[in-house]
């Protein structure tokens, strides 16, 4: 980089036009912090954050044609794969905001709360765009550091415990990842992992050390994804954090991590020329994640912990789409990720409203099915979608990703892929058992029969919208796949 100052400035200036959403987010963070000093009215502040997210969402590059702009001298790249994921991340942010707006307890430090949310979104944006090892690490750390604070934002003992656990585990994961990144830099001599030099250098030295370095970097991504065996932080963090934050954690960092992981692992795999079976590694991780997540969820008594293990298992399903290593696998993964955002928020929005009326354990949902019919029915739809049963889009998503996996198996004939297929689908049966626990208590266990009240008007409207989306995407998945289809995945 022997370029002069003026050239650098020119480079930055030329990159800015494709970096608008991130600039908006960065400005938004500062504005929200400032506004918090001057004015503490929640309505105005929430509206402002909503505006920032909306602006970031609409300023994303939506082009029908495949495109790719490499920005800031190879630090980040804007293409339609990352644009789609960024849009999804922004939607996740907006949904979180709606939940947070209903969370009266967040009033105290609202501007900090919102600015941390926005920072994580910014980090997630950068992570899915990054094509440089250093940038990857930095954006992951933006996400992580803000997450540690946000995890403790309920200011309870449990929250502090979760936050500290998250931090300690996270610090180790980051350190390991950084070490792996430094090794890779040493092997290849470049930080730009999408470059020709990087993959050529990797291909020449297929030593076990490269494999180890790759594993270390993967561990960092998998940690954010809450995939086994680096998942144990998730249940404690979820249990202690406020509900909107839990919903946010179960979606946004995961999407960012899986996007970055997909790009990175394709490079590691050297487009099939690697001496190491990265597909096999990821398949094993997915199998363990699915099994551990689903089986651990069986014993949970707290809805948040249940959803924590559910989200671990769902990471396994996202990984299934990645493992296929096929263009349609990537597209199906995006479809599944979209559906996952919808169904997860559908569940969390009701869990939050039930937590607000003091229901903290699954057993306390007894008899709720009669008392609050519609919230429970919508929650049931969310659970059924997470299980992956028709007629919800959860089924379509699973059908798609497993189709890609079948195809990958038919092409490569690796037994581990077949095992993943069989284990993944059998895990669906296991998951049914715990996903039905809440509806089971609500509808079947007879609590004291009280008159029905349906004063969750806002949640119901919102829930109905998400339920309809899940149904529409089942009956005509083409609506969404039409867009996703246009995303071609090119690494450089």
């Amino acid at each position: 980089m022997e370029s002069g100052l003026s050239e650098t400035i020119a480079l930055v200036r030329n990159s800015l036009h494709a970096f608008v959403p991130e600039l908006i987010l960065s400005l938004g963070i500062l504005l929200v912090l400032l506004a918090g000093l001057l004015n503490r009215r929640r309505g105005r502040l929430s509206l402002m954050v909503f505006g920032v997210m909306l602006l970031s969402f609409v300023s994303l590059p939506y082009h029908a044609e495949p495109f790719a702009h490499t920005l800031f001298g190879g630090m980040v790249r804007s293409d339609n794969f990352s644009a789609y994921l960024r849009a999804l991340i922004d939607i996740g942010g907006v949904l979180t905001l709606i939940m947070a707006w209903r969370d009266k307890r967040a009033d105290e430090r609202l501007s900090e709360y919102y600015s941390l949310l926005l920072s994580i979104i910014l980090g997630a944006h950068l992570l899915v765009m990054s094509q440089n090892l250093l940038m990857t690490f930095l954006s992951l750390e933006i996400m992580s550091l803000c997450s540690y604070v946000l995890a403790g934002f309920s200011f309870t003992r449990q929250g502090a415990e979760g936050s500290l656990k998250y931090f300690l585990f996270g610090a180790v994961a980051s350190a390991v990842m950084l070490y792996g990144l430094s090794l890779l830099y040493g092997f290849t001599g470049t930080l730009d992992f999408s470059s020709e030099t990087f993959s050529a250098a990797l291909q020449q030295q297929q030593t076990p050390l490269v494999f180890a370095a790759g594993l270390m970097v993967l561990a960092g991504f998998l940690y954010k994804l809450a995939a086994a065996p680096v998942h144990p932080w998730a249940p404690d963090v979820y249990e202690g954090a406020p509900m909107p934050v839990v919903a946010f954690f179960s979606v946004v960092p995961k999407l960012a991590a899986v996007g970055a992981l997909l790009k990175f692992v394709l490079v590691l795999n050297a487009y099939g020329h690697s001496a190491f079976d990265w597909q096999g590694v990821l398949a094993v991780v997915a199998i363990i994640t699915l099994t551990v997540g689903n089986f651990s969820a069986l014993w949970q008594k707290n809805p948040k912990r249940l959803m924590a293990y559910s989200s671990i298992a769902q990471s396994g399903f996202l990984l299934v789409g990645v493992v296929a290593f096929l263009p349609q696998g990537m597209q199906f993964m995006l479809f599944y990720a979209t559906v996952y955002v919808i169904m997860n928020f559908l569940v969390f929005i009701y869990l939050q409203s039930f937590e607000n009326i003091g229901l903290e354990t699954i057993a306390s949902y007894q008899g709720l099915g009669r008392q609050r019919v519609w919230p429970m029915v919508f929650l049931l739809v969310g659970m059924v979608a997470l299980t992956g049963l028709p007629p919800t889009a959860g089924f379509t998503g699973k059908l798609f990703i497993f189709s890609a996996l079948w195809e990958a198996y038919a092409l490569s004939g690796k037994p581990v892929l077949l095992w993943l297929l069989v284990m993944g689908l059998l895990n669906t049966v296991v998951s049914l058992f715990y996903y039905l626990r809440i509806p089971y208590f609500a509808f079947i266990k007879n609590g004291e029969s009280t008159t029905s009240t349906n004063n969750l008007a806002f949640e119901n409207l919102f829930g109905l919208l998400l339920v309809l989306l899940l149904l529409v995407l089942f009956f005509s998945p083409g609506l969404l796949m039409g867009w996703i289809n246009k995303i071609t995945f090119v690494i450089r």
Binding site: P327, P390, S403, W406, A410, L421, I444, K445, M481
Partner: protein
């Protein structure tokens, strides 16, 4: 030809269920009248369907619309269709479904607790049952197949007996396991099969008819007969067949996968027991005849002895369990297991007699098992006790009821003159003939299977003797004044079933003439295609 008859059958209950959502929950009566109205409408549509049906015409009343069509670049096109139709296999089952659903609706008349939820779920279940019998697209079939589970789960779990929670979740988990096995094969199949009628690009279709033709399989796909892939001693098509077979066998149910059935039956409310036994079990047999055997005929021939043996085991084991049962509903549930074993035996034979017999057995068992469970419900409604040993000499107090019990028991044990006899005799013939015509089954299987008739006579006659004859006596705290004879509503439910069991036993021709062309064509397809695929085309 009336278009859209089948769609009308499927969507009327769904529309009614949607309408019921907006009726206030207090209007208990309106829900049952709505459900009855739907069932009566369906009967009229069914009559039109039967009049229009031409037994020699193959697939009829076809409605085919593209449903999900997604182009996926180089990989091809993902295509699922709304594709329904009836043929000799599905028409008797559709007729049976409409008939039994009407009876079950009448039998639900006294359900007033949470009536709104009950009838909405019943209507959804109605649509799903009929839908799965007429769907000819695998994805559509799978949708209806899965969509049956959730309503049934809640119907058992909320309105069921004391151990309903255990029984309902067991039912759900077993059946979901079965459908996951089916899903694995479904994904593999649609990736392997292309639509021959669309020129140009590769169209991956869910069309069951295309799947049954091995020439539509993309070469080098996983289910290509030339594929040399093996796991253990079996190739991919054999594994796929086994997965489908076990998936449907759980539903059927086949020993040793049957354990959900007695629990579910015992705990389910009477109308749901009726639907479970008369219709839901049939979807297992239907799935084998529509999907598993025609799509993988080579593997079906390879495993035919195994299927036959499993059938015979189900017959013998189910009968013995029935004989040992102390609870009347449990006895009937195990007798269902035994009767479904006959279906397996008939299908395994792949002779026209055997297949016709299996189809006829499904039809006839639908009528008879519905009657049996209603009969068991009569005594349960009065005393909330189904323990056989708590009753004695009921015939003196309940003569009409005893007559109905006699009819149902005799029909179920396969006495000549009832529909069960025709079915079982055809199955014996078919299974016996198999050894000399296509050499699939050993003669001894048919001979062992006849023991099912003997066992059946034993447990039914023994139950009759214990419960209905001898001196009138009640144990277990049942009061004599609880014992009253049939009400009008119970007559309305039982009499048509008794008449049907008798009519189709004396004059089976109307149903057999519908089934027979299908059975002929089915055997020819499985044998010729199966053999040609076995020898790699």
């Amino acid at each position: 030809m009336q278009p859209y008859l089948l769609s009308f059958l499927i969507f009327t209950p769904l529309v009614a269920a949607l309408a019921a959502v907006f009726i206030p929950a207090g209007a208990v009566k309106s829900f049952r009248w709505l459900a009855l109205l739907v069932s009566v409408l369906q009967v009229f549509v069914l009559l039109q369907l039967l009049v229009a049906y031409n037994p020699a015409g193959g697939l009829q009343q076809v409605e085919q619309q593209p449903w999900i069509v997604i182009s996926l670049g180089a990989w091809g096109v993902f295509r699922a269709e709304y594709f329904v139709g009836v043929d000799g296999l599905s028409l008797p089952l559709v007729a049976l479904s409409v008939f039994i659903l009407l009876i079950a609706t009448i039998s639900s008349w006294q359900t007033t607790r949470q009536a709104k939820g009950y009838y909405i779920l019943l209507l959804v279940l109605n649509a799903a049952i009929i839908g799965s019998f007429v769907a000819l697209d695998f994805l559509l079939f799978y949708l209806f197949f899965e969509f049956m589970l959730l309503p049934m789960f809640f119907l058992i779990a909320i309105w069921g007996g004391p151990r309903r929670e255990y029984a309902s979740i067991k039912f759900f988990l077993y059946t979901l396991l079965g459908s996951v096995l089916i899903l694995i094969v479904m994904i593999g199949l649609y990736i392997s099969v292309h639509d021959p009628s669309s020129p140009g690009g590769l169209v991956h279709t869910f069309n069951l008819l295309h799947m049954a033709d091995p020439s539509n399989i993309v070469s080098h796909a996983i289910f290509d007969p030339h594929n040399v892939w093996r796991l253990g001693r079996l190739d991919a098509r054999q594994w796929a067949f086994l997965l489908l077979f076990f998936g449907f066998a759980i539903k059927l149910p086949m020993v040793p996968l049957h354990t959900w059935l007695p629990d579910a039956h015992v705990e389910a409310p009477t109308p749901m027991s009726v639907l479970l036994a008369a219709l839901l079990l049939k979807i297992g047999g239907y799935g084998l005849a529509r999907i598993a055997l025609p799509i993988f005929p080579d593997a079906a021939l390879y495993f035919s002895s195994f299927i036959g043996i499993m059938g015979v085991i189900s017959i013998v084991y189910g009968s013995l369990n029935a004989m040992a049962s102390k609870d009347l509903k449990r006895l009937i549930a195990y007798s269902s297991v035994a009767h479904m074993g006959f279906v397996l035996l008939g299908l395994a034979a792949v002779t026209p007699e055997g297949v016709s017999g299996a189809m006829y057995q499904m039809f006839s068992h639908g009528i008879i098992s519905a009657m049996l469970f209603l009969v068991a419900g009569v005594v349960y409604d009065r005393t909330h006790d189904r323990t056989i040993s708590h009753y004695s000499g009921l015939s003196s107090r309940m003569p009409a009821y005893t007559a109905m019990v006699l009819v149902s028991f005799f029909a179920s044990m396969g006495l000549p003159g009832f529909s069960g006899f025709i079915a079982e005799i055809l199955i014996f013939l078919g299974a016996f003939k198999s050894a000399s015509t296509n050499g699939l089954l050993h003669e001894s299987l048919a001979i062992i299977a006849t023991s099912g008739l003997v066992f059946g006579a034993a447990y039914y006659l023994w139950t009759l003797q214990r419960m209905f004859f001898g001196p009138f006596d009640l144990k277990g705290g049942i009061q004599p004044e609880q014992i009253t004879d049939l009400t009008l509503r119970e007559y309305i439910q039982l009499a048509p079933l008794a008449l049907a069991a008798l009519a189709f036993g004396i004059w089976p021709q109307p149903v057999l003439s519908i089934i027979d062309p299908f059975a002929q064509q089915f055997c020819e397809h499985v044998l010729t295609v199966g053999k040609s695929v076995t020898f790699k085309l």
